[in-house]
Symmetry: C2
């Protein structure tokens, strides 16, 4: 079996028709959902690209792998999904975005070069890169945001799009009324069509790469097809740019009382440029139709992949997973982007389709178990035929849910997500040291708490009585028991064993009691206490006496 692991960057869990979106029709997402299981309580390990992805690619919590924010390198030597799969005989390919930054210092210390297969895998988060393109080709007065080479920009140039950065000038820009560039960075331009032939835009381009890959690659493989869209810049070519209009924009999930004495960290996020912008109705009216168009385009391109699999007879031996690295506030809770732990940001779409017979019983169903992003790589490892190495991978395989076995015994009682905002000016504004600019979410299926390091009170929501998370109970004395319960969960998690990655359970079992029979006899007074045959091993091998003259007699006197 092959695995098609498709990620859509910043795609909300509720922007699919199978998840109930009232206006956005996504027949191809729905088609996979009809053949698989849609997980309705799946959470990312950190609501921002870099750490979330590193969790998907390692099966480990953000504070376990340490790549806490975008551009924080995953340290050289960290074991990845690719390592696990290759050990099980499955290749692991990347097509698209990872947001991985190589640990240059670590590679140098280990003498590794990204020019070698091993070094390249270290630099690419364990993947073999079929094609890598993070789709963040920003350029500004201080230079380029991403210094790598963009295969997508190379593609556009080959197609005749001019200039140094057609990603910015065409794929992510429209044309203004004076025939000048209308940059997609400016949200006022989001309703304009991107100045690019639809087939040349990022999503179809990567889809063609995926189909080319599937045509050429020898299995078994896991292919991470990782789209930058519907991530910003929010601009999409025709005909998607005007498929949806302001009338299809849902009302923002927000309430004035959220701005009334808010948690200081939440206040910072509401007050930053992004929060202020997305609190404006005109921004939502411009952005959300484009965001919907981008998803609609993703859905159409997904249809091409599904058709290809069916036409080539590969549908029966290709598992498909559709997910996102995090969501997008889109103005909900007076916020834009992601970063915090309200559902639109931290919950992710997750549809898992195993084509094999064992999963027939659950096709087209949903599952509301508490699922984390790190469960996805654990599932892949099991699919590849290996046991999940629990001393490294902290997620658990979702296979039992697919097989209709229900929730396995000892399944988690809570999910964790984390956020590190040390790099943000908000850390400075709050007067925090970088180590204190860290947030943790604990969610037990009903109660959701955000703990903030740095001496703040927590935030608390009751998703049963307040599913929209509009009432912060974090300071309400009546909810102290709930907070204590969630803190107990957080602390239990914080004390977890996460770094004993060089010793498996089997290794430990093998070591038990071994040293004694390898001659380390601790706690033995004399030979009578051990097996005579063993005792004989400690006898009779001496052929010289090196005692200084007289010392033995002294010894005997003393004894």
């Amino acid at each position: 079996m092959n695995i098609l692991f498709i990620m859509y960057d910043q795609m909300r869990f509720d922007y699919m028709s199978c998840a109930g979106h009232p206006h956005l029709h996504t027949p191809n997402f729905d088609r996979v959902a009809a053949r698989g299981v849609r997980f309705t309580n799946a959470y990312c390990q950190s609501p921002v690209c870099g750490p979330s992805r590193m969790s998907f690619y390692t099966g480990r919590y953000a504070s376990s792998h340490g790549a806490a924010w975008n551009g924080y390198p995953l340290r050289a030597g960290e074991v990845t999904l690719g390592d696990h799969l290759r050990a099980a005989g499955m290749d692991c390919w990347l097509l698209g975005k990872t947001h991985m930054r190589a640990d240059a210092a670590g590679l140098a210390r280990l003498g590794l070069s990204a020019e070698t297969v091993i070094g390249a895998r270290q630099a690419e988060c364990g993947f073999d890169a079929w094609i890598r393109d993070d789709g963040l080709w920003g350029q500004g007065p201080d230079g380029d945001f991403d210094l790598k080479r963009s295969p997508y920009n190379a593609y556009l140039k080959a197609k005749g799009y001019d200039g140094e950065n057609p990603w910015a000038d065409y794929a992510n820009a429209g044309v203004d009324d004076g025939d000048d560039i209308a940059s997609g960075w400016f949200m006022a331009n989001c309703d304009r069509p991107a100045n690019i032939a639809e087939e040349d835009s990022e999503t179809p381009w990567l889809t063609r790469e995926a189909i080319r890959f599937m045509t050429e690659a020898k299995g078994p493989w896991c292919a991470h097809v990782s789209y930058i869209k519907p991530h910003w810049p929010y601009i999409v070519p025709a005909p998607y740019h005007d498929m949806y209009g302001p009338n299809q924009v849902p009302a923002a999930v927000r309430h004035e009382r959220e701005r009334d004495d808010p948690h200081p960290v939440y206040a910072q996020f509401m007050g930053n440029r992004i929060g202020r912008a997305f609190s404006r109705d005109e921004v939502r009216a411009k952005v959300i139709p484009a965001y919907m168009g981008l998803i609609k385009q993703c859905d159409d391109q997904l249809g091409r992949i599904l058709d290809f699999l069916e036409e080539t007879g590969r549908a029966q031996d290709t598992a498909i997973v559709l997910t996102a690295d995090h969501g997008d506030y889109l103005g909900d809770h007076w916020l834009g982007e992601k970063d915090l732990f309200h559902e639109p940001s931290v919950k992710i779409p997750l549809i898992v389709m195993d084509p094999r017979k064992g999963a027939d019983a659950t096709r087209g169903t949903t599952c509301d178990a508490l699922v984390e992003a790190i469960d996805v790589p654990a599932t892949f490892i099991e699919w590849a035929g290996a046991e999940v190495p629990t001393h490294i991978v902290e997620g658990r395989s979702l296979a039992p849910f697919l097989h209709g076995e229900g929730q396995p015994e000892g399944w988690r009682e809570f999910v964790i997500s984390e956020y590190d905002y040390a790099v943000s000016p908000m850390c400075v504004n709050l007067g925090l040291e970088s180590k204190d600019a860290r947030l943790f979410m604990v969610f037990d299926g009903r109660w959701k708490m955000m703990h903030a390091e740095g001496g703040f009170r927590p935030m608390l929501f009751d998703l049963e009585s307040d599913p929209q998370e509009l009432t912060d109970l974090g300071a309400d004395p009546a909810y102290e028991p709930q907070r204590q319960k969630l803190y107990a969960m957080l602390h239990r998690w914080a004390l977890r064993m996460s770094q004993r990655v060089t010793m498996s359970e089997d290794d430990i079992a093998r070591l038990r009691g071994r040293s004694f029979r390898r001659g380390i006899l601790i706690g033995v007074y004399d030979e009578s206490e051990i097996d005579p045959e063993l005792a004989s091993k400690y006898r009779g091998r001496m052929r010289q006496n090196h005692l200084p003259a007289g010392s033995r007699a002294e010894s005997e006197e003393q004894a």
Copy 2:
């Protein structure tokens, strides 16, 4: 300046005359203490060789570096003291024991061979090995405990000691009344002299290596001179074997009430072979005089090193640190060996001597600040002229104490030590999964708590009213406030940031606000919101119109 970092394996903090031992006279330890500062509240990060040493050699807590027990490999890529020192221009050499096991799987994954300089450093915990010998050359029916080559055994063979393993047959064995080997493994033999010329025993052998090193090496260097002794087998050559007798053995620190309804984990340790053995007076009467003799020999050999430094004029530019990886119960608390967190086990001797003028004010003093083993490498990094990289090294430099500046602001309020007994049969006896066979000590200078994973109550001691730790208050309802306070400390520590090792504070500061000026314009509605010069960067570069015919007009209609 060079650094002589001397470790004595399993040496108790209170077995030196400068620390008040009534019978064991250690003029050379005292000589260093008179020139430096003796830390009276220094604790190891784990009271067992492997993880304690990995903490000394990385500056990180045991649960941060993950090498949780003896023989658990330190993962390839972990940054070590050697890496930090070499980056600061100081070599970092090993002479003796580390208990490091190479991460063979990690090295293979990274394509590293221990035959290369880089691979060898990975395999040797960051040291360049001048001579490596762990001194645990046990052999039993299932084979050798340690499969490496023993330079010490090679030395003995070259000197004419016969057999395959003269370490076992001579250095760590006496002669019985029938002229047969009296193995030092059997504690009944501990009062016999080891059947070896004193100069050929392990401590003088390594001392000569140290002097040879100091004669030959070019500075600046840090040399880890790491003696196996006074670690078991407890046997020492003449004249040390009978310098002390049962009359000099202090009474065991223990009380019958410790065996009355003990904590289940403590009960397991008391009940194992080692605990039962060391609860016997005859064992203490045999072992402790040998242990004292071994330390006396260490002291004499230290004298040779100090004399060498003085005679060669190197005393003025060689800092000296004397410490141990953990202590030895020696029958206190009905226990032998180490492993748990009573003072004889978890507290370590620590004498730090900086020969430079800045430390003159504190010579010969003691310091009772709460100090951890991980502070030792942090101190060395500062001595080497570098800043302590706080994103990797969790310890803090002790230099301010040496300079008489008193306790730095924000010094820790508690120390942590950890113990993983997953490999022990006690884990099985208690019916625990390996992840639950973990213990944590929190000590705030007065209250000491042991938290055990796996659903047990804690142990609690008040060292002010009960300095001998004979009364476990862990189940006493009256002490719930103290337990809560210590648990709050433990949880604060557990949530610490320990794995963000690829991003320094400077790296983070540099990243702040950078993306905007590199063209990542999130949250901008239109050009009026940003600097006009910046806005102009997003203009005027288009030279083609790729819009499909008609689409622009539609766009304008909709807008």
